[in-house]
Assembly symmetry: C2
Homo-oligomer: 111 residues x 2
């Protein structure tokens, strides 16, 4: 799991990816980690948060614009992972693109 | 972890709650489970997905409107949990309210 993301003032966009896998599959973890790394190199990327618990995963990535999200969706190496996801890894998933309108955060004071 | 949520056609709203705890705290799991149950009883609630991995958690709840989200935010028992979260449980958290504009999902065909 990456740390919590530090994002700018809204508005910006979030891609909420929730998934359920049938079982552990060889190569899944490596590909998932590679996608996080690769997403971080895309134009307009703002941050990513990803948690897995058993077969359920939630990954939220943050982007400056819808154009940035479309660019990432069409990325060639990401496309390979998307196909593997449908062909092998996931029993079920949902992808939601949402415009972040309000945000607040809390950090415990030191000491 | 609840199952993946079945939500209506967009637009609707998502509340993305990401958090980091310092360590395990007594009563946290029970309170978190109670909040999921209680959220499900609120007007305008559409679904909730929640995953914890170590000290990191991501919970995404879905709502019909901003009014529904405000109602839940101001719920008395939820308010108690919010205070405990700041006083004891969380080292860090972020709450993002986002308008879901596009959604797609995949379910593996049987057999």
């Amino acid at each position: 799991m990456s740390d919590l993301s530090c994002t700018p003032e809204p508005p910006y966009y979030a891609v909420i990816f929730t998934s359920r896998r049938a079982a552990e599959h060889e190569g899944y973890g490596e590909m998932a980690d590679r996608m996080v790394e690769l997403a971080g190199e895309q134009p307009g990327f703002l941050g990513i948060e990803s948690v897995r618990q058993g077969t359920i995963g939630i990954t939220v990535s943050y982007w400056r614009s819808l154009e940035a999200i479309d660019g990432w969706r069409k990325h060639a190496e990401h496309g390979v992972a998307q196909r593997l996801g449908r062909d092998a890894w996931y029993d079920e998933y949902a992808i939601r693109v949402a415009r972040v309108e309000r945000a607040r955060s809390f950090t415990r004071a030191e000491g």
